[in-house]
């Protein structure tokens, strides 16, 4: 099963930030491939969503970039700076909380007494 882009839309920034936090520097194609590998092809980031997100993160001042020239091609590596690292943590914990809440809301786990309001 491949998840729909609708579902991925709100989480893409978090995914990219987390990947960059775990790897010192990555380029666009590498990011898409890594996500594919890690999720067993379940999540496939489209190029049409990845690059706008990368540029937006760069404009927000969360990324540092490094350029490598390969003949006629130029490869741009992205890595997190200090505020990027902080944002990555925030975003991941925010999403984790969200997942927990969704699990509860959609009743995916047996409700336990301490989560259920009295």
């Amino acid at each position: 099963m491949i998840f729909s882009t609708e579902l991925l839309k709100g989480t893409l920034k978090t995914i990219v930030l987390k990947l960059l936090a775990d790897n010192s520097k990555m380029y666009g194609y590498e990011i898409t491939q890594r996500v594919k590998e890690l999720t067993g092809d379940k999540i496939q980031i489209t190029e049409g969503a990845l690059y706008p997100t990368l540029h937006a993160l760069e404009a927000e001042g969360l990324l540092t970039t490094e350029v490598e020239y390969m003949g006629k091609r130029v490869r741009k590596y992205y890595s997190l700076n200090e505020s990027g690292k902080a944002r990555s943590k925030e975003k991941v914990s925010e999403l984790a909380e969200f997942i927990e809440t969704m699990t509860f809301l959609l009743d995916l786990k047996k409700k336990t007494l301490n989560v259920l309001p009295q």
Partner: protein, 380 residues
């Protein structure tokens, strides 16, 4: 692993550019990405172009340009709040400067025009463009967005036209005509068509359109298509000057040795008449003023002489001749005659047609009068 040739890389980059990716950063990102994919999937005997097209198709829903648009969208959104804030601040400054400037103007305090110009600039250069950009980013049909943009353009053009007009900068008239043109032929139809389709806005749209038409009509009424026509009373002054010149010319000695003494003044007089004839032709279409100042057919369009003198080789030559004759005349005089004898092209170009006529007639009267006084002195 397949290795892409330089031609193939150029081909890909060209194709990316052709398909609407304009940001260089994004071009290079996509180029590298596509190259990575192709290097993995291409086999020696595969068709490169065919596989490339298949690959790039996975990047978008309808066209490649979407990626560029999405990028710009995300970047814009980041600045959205800053832009909104700046718009509000600029709007507040502009409004305050308009109110204060008007107050200063009424009270004849210094600084009124500075405040009013600041207000117009703030409004035209900061507030309206930001308003248009932010409005366009909001949801709406493309028709509504087009109306917003053209509406902002009308407001910008109108305030710039006003600014140019009061500062006497060249181009004010072009700006006013552009304002009217854009308002009547772009904004009004766009606004009407965008609003008339929705049932709940229909009446509002019709009412506002009528108000807009009236506004454009009023503005157009105020515009002079031809240069201003000289009022009959002012024209009378020109006629009086002419009568004075003619009258004084009669009193000069007209025969023999006596005439030779006033030869230079007669020549200057003739040159002045020729220059005046050029001015009169440009103002009325006739070589000389008609006999009667109250002739209702007479239209004296008081354009600045600068608008037709500089392109007219004959006029330039005549004025050069006059300058030389005046220099000659000044050399025969020991007394200081002030500015009345200093007429040249820059001096004339400061005046409208009627003013230039007056200047030349005054010169003639001055010289003829001086000659007559000399004559009276010799008789006594």
């Amino acid at each position: 692993m397949y290795c892409l040739s330089e031609q193939q890389i150029d081909y890909i980059l060209d194709d990316i550019r052709r398909n609407g990716i304009e940001t260089e950063d994004l071009q290079l990102n996509l180029l590298d990405h596509i190259c990575c994919i192709l290097e993995r999937t291409l086999k020696e005997d595969d068709d490169f172009e065919c596989l490339y097209q298949l690959t790039v198709k996975q990047f978008f829903k309808n066209e490649l340009r979407e990626i560029e648009e999405e990028t710009i969208n995300l970047l814009m959104f980041k600045n959205y709040y800053a832009m909104k804030k700046l718009m509000i601040v600029a709007g507040a400054i502009s409004a305050a400067a308009f109110v204060l400037g008007s107050l200063f103007k009424i009270m004849f305090w210094p600084g009124a025009s500075v405040l009013l110009c600041l207000a117009m600039l703030m409004f035209a250069v900061v507030f309206m463009p930001l308003m248009a950009v932010l409005k366009v980013k909001e949801k709406g049909t493309s028709g509504q967005k087009f109306a917003t943009v053209t509406g902002a353009l009308v407001a910008i053009l109108f305030s710039l036209a006003t600014l140019f007009k009061v500062q006497h900068w060249p181009g004010a008239n072009i700006l006013i005509f552009s304002t009217i043109g854009v308002a009547a032929f772009l904004y009004l139809p766009a606004y009407y068509l965008a609003g008339i389709r929705s049932a709940d806005k229909k009446l509002d749209t019709i009412v506002t359109s009528v108000i807009l038409v009236s506004g454009i009509g009023l503005l157009f009424t105020m515009v002079n298509l031809r240069p201003p026509r000289l009022a009959p009373a002012e024209l009378q002054l020109c006629y009086n000057n002419e009568a004075l010149v003619r009258n004084m010319l009669y009193s000069l000695p007209d025969t023999g040795a006596e005439r030779a003494k006033s030869e230079l003044v007669r020549n200057i007089n003739a040159t002045c008449e020729q220059i005046k004839s050029v001015i009169i032709f440009n103002a009325t279409g006739n070589k000389a003023l008609p006999a009667n100042a109250n002739n209702p057919q007479l239209g004296f369009y008081d354009r600045p002489v600068a608008s037709y003198f500089s392109d007219d080789a004959d006029a330039v030559a005549l004025i050069k001749k006059l300058e030389m004759q005046l220099t000659q005349y000044r050399q025969t005089k020991s007394t200081d005659n002030g500015d009345i004898l200093n007429i040249d092209m820059p001096e004339l170009c400061k005046f409208p047609s009627s003013g230039a006529l007056c200047l030349l007639s005054q010169l003639q009267i001055y010289l003829l009068n001086a000659e007559r006084e000399k004559l009276v002195a010799t008789i006594n």
